[in-house]
């Protein structure tokens, strides 16, 4: 489908070596045209609100109320309502934070890294994946903000954001926790901007359709956010350049965010945390969990809205293969941690890893290994990848496994550090459990609103990758 083919004459060497022509996979099945794509995507927003949507929204809002109640109780009472106690002073809060922020990473991977790598299949899934990123960052941000207990300290000058406190002292910019503030807030901001820029042409389409249908109010609302976009090629030229640059900077950003998150641990001296493998291992794990979540969300949507022509089996194959690759990297990291613990000959580190696998938290370690190392291996098989239900179930295991990975890293290392006299065992309190449970509701509420009001797929990008879009008419 190379549109470049007629721009440049083929090099002479190709006539000699006669390379095999590998057919490109079609990205939109059944020869759908531009108008079909517009109708399909806009129809989701324009149609009546389906009954299932109200049911899901009701359940999601109910679940989200657990978070609201849990946090209100926490702020009113104090952080003591969570199960943290010496020696485990960081527990579910940071586990949940890393879990959610990791999920967000697949969205940026799809929108930015796959854009730079010219993986055109990304177009069908990048919008919901980016939305997932933003909502996951929202859920993630809840925990570091609220774990300080008196949350006004999170916004008052002198604590998180770079202003001096009441004594005129500034933050310690050597602390990875302060780096984290910058990394996560930059990540959230850039994700929202990137998402919005991608939305502008599609909002223009929505505006034009509502104008034509005579729905003035909705035309005004979508029109306001479309900023007067009219699809002029002089504007597209600047737009595409801006999009490319955003993709170019979002790529180092997404890699740096989870690297900085891993520094929260790797820079500390606790055995089990103090390892140099953490940054790449955390990034691979984040992408692994994120793709698990993308498929958890997209497979039901594909079935409900009959999107099989735009989210084809090829798309599912690609996502499964990335999950398989990153899951295997995570498995490699687990074994390499053990190897280094032995090879490094540090008795504390050696103990930390033996303790993970066979100590008091062994149950969580083996849940993690089963879900993260064994589950993705099923994706080697085409039969499995073609069974959407099975793929969805496996993705749920991936999500569970990646939550346990963070729990294993954080709780086991803190509960058994250098001095046996300061060992302990951490269990979450009911408030903590409810607060975390509720974040799935918060996420779902936001995601359901997104499905209802925002074009689910980037129409302009999907149109650009179908054969009719090629101005040289060959279709290939």
């Amino acid at each position: 489908m190379s549109a470049h083919s007629s721009d440049h004459p083929a090099p002479a060497i190709l006539a000699e070596v006669k390379p095999a022509v590998l057919p490109r996979r079609v990205l939109v099945e059944n020869h759908r045209d531009f108008h079909w794509i517009t109708d399909k995507v806009c129809g989701i927003v324009e149609g009546q609100t389906p009954v299932w949507w109200w049911w899901c929204f009701g359940v999601a809002a109910f679940v989200a109320s657990f978070t609201v109640a849990g946090l209100t109780y926490l702020v009113a009472t104090g952080v003591g309502v969570w199960g943290h106690a010496n020696p485990v002073n960081w527990a579910w809060d940071i586990v949940n934070f890393v879990f959610w922020i990791g999920i967000g990473h697949a969205g940026t991977l799809i929108s930015a890294i796959l854009c730079l790598l010219r993986q055109k299949w990304r177009t069908s899934i990048n919008r919901p994946a980016e939305a997932m990123t933003i909502f996951a960052v929202v859920c993630a941000a809840i925990f570091p903000v609220f774990h300080v207990g008196r949350i006004w300290f999170a916004v008052l000058p002198g604590f998180l954001f770079p202003f001096p406190n009441a004594n005129g002292i500034w933050q310690n910019f050597r602390s990875p926790l302060e780096w984290d503030v910058f990394a996560v807030s930059t990540y959230g901001t850039v994700s929202v901007l990137f998402w919005y820029v991608g939305l502008i042409p599609d909002l223009g389409t929505m505006r034009d359709r509502f104008t034509a249908a005579g729905n003035v109010l909705r035309a005004r609302i979508y029109g306001f956010f479309a900023m007067g976009w009219r699809g002029s090629n002089r504007a597209w030229s600047n737009y595409e350049m801006a999009y490319l640059i955003l993709a170019g900077i979002a790529t180092p950003l997404v890699l740096s965010v989870h690297t900085v998150v891993s520094f929260d641990f790797a820079v500390a001296l606790i055995p089990g945390w103090h390892t140099t493998i953490f940054p790449p291992y955390f990034v691979a794990g984040a992408i692994f969990s994120g793709f698990g979540m993308v498929m958890t969300l997209m497979l039901p949507l594909r079935a409900i809205y009959r999107l099989e022509d735009v989210i084809t089996q090829y798309h599912i194959d690609c996502m499964c293969k990335i999950t398989l690759a990153t899951g295997t990297m995570v498995g490699y990291a687990y074994s390499m941690e053990f190897f280094i613990a032995w090879y490094g000959a540090n008795p504390y580190e050696g103990f930390a890893f033996i303790n993970r696998a066979f100590g008091v938290y062994a149950w969580s370690y083996w849940i993690m290994v089963t879900c993260n190392v064994i589950t993705p291996q099923f994706f080697w098989f085409k039969k499995v990848r073609e069974n959407t239900t099975l793929v969805w179930i496996l993705c749920i295991f991936v999500n569970v496994g990646m939550w346990f990975e963070r729990f294993v890293i954080i709780a086991t290392s803190l509960a058994r550090d250098f001095l046996p006299s300061s060992w302990g065992y951490y269990s979450p309190s009911i408030v903590e459990i409810f607060t975390f449970f509720g974040t799935f509701g918060v996420f779902s509420v936001l995601f359901l609103l997104f499905i209802r009001f925002v074009p689910l797929m980037p129409m302009s990008e999907i149109k650009a990758v179908i054969p009719q879009a090629d101005p040289h008419g060959s279709g290939h």
Binding site: F34, T38, F173, T205, D208, F224, S256, A464
Partner: protein
């Protein structure tokens, strides 16, 4: 008093549009545009457009961000209230790097988007093209060429003939 904004011609496929753009470009027009539902590959060259200037904004934004990070941290931890942490020097670019790196990206993003908006003159909620009814399909499945009446080479009859020869359909004048 309706002033004519320009002439518009519609095209159903991208190859037709591409060839027509080459003809309009070669006829020497300068104030004209295409309206398409998606960025058509290679159309910039067919329209004789130059490379976008957005990267200049990005570069300025990136440099500003990096310098902001380094300066902020030096000023806060080494100058305004020198803070001893672990007996290390008050300032070193090493520990200031992660934050400066994030700020580079943040400021680049702001500058890139601001640059894109500025160059495209967005938001622009009123435009003759948005008012004309045929353009509802410009964000759906049809492609248009608009030649503005202010173009020095514009001549209602000749321009119309050029668009006809280039294969344009439904040629019409649109009002200001």
């Amino acid at each position: 008093m309706n002033k004519t904004y320009g002439l518009v011609a519609a095209f159903d496929t991208t190859p037709e549009l591409y060839r027509a753009c080459e003809q309009v470009r070669d006829a020497g027009y300068s104030r004209w545009d295409t309206i398409t539902p998606f960025p058509v590959h290679g159309l910039d060259a067919a329209m004789g457009m130059r490379r976008s200037h957005v990267p200049r904004f990005s570069l300025v934004g990136g440099i500003t961000g990096f310098c902001t990070g380094m300066t902020l941290i030096w000023w806060a931890n080494a100058y305004e209230y020198p803070l001893v942490v672990g007996g290390k020097p008050y300032f070193s670019p090493m520990f200031a790097f992660p934050i400066s790196y994030e700020l580079t990206i943040l400021f680049t993003a702001f500058a890139t988007i601001a640059g894109m908006f500025l160059l495209n003159k967005l938001p622009m909620h009123y435009h003759p093209v948005l008012k004309a009814p045929q353009f509802v399909r410009a964000s759906d499945d049809r492609f248009f060429i608009v030649i503005e009446a202010t173009d020095p080479k514009f001549n209602p009859a000749q321009t119309r003939r050029l668009l006809e020869q280039a294969g344009g359909k439904d040629i019409a004048a649109i009002d200001e």
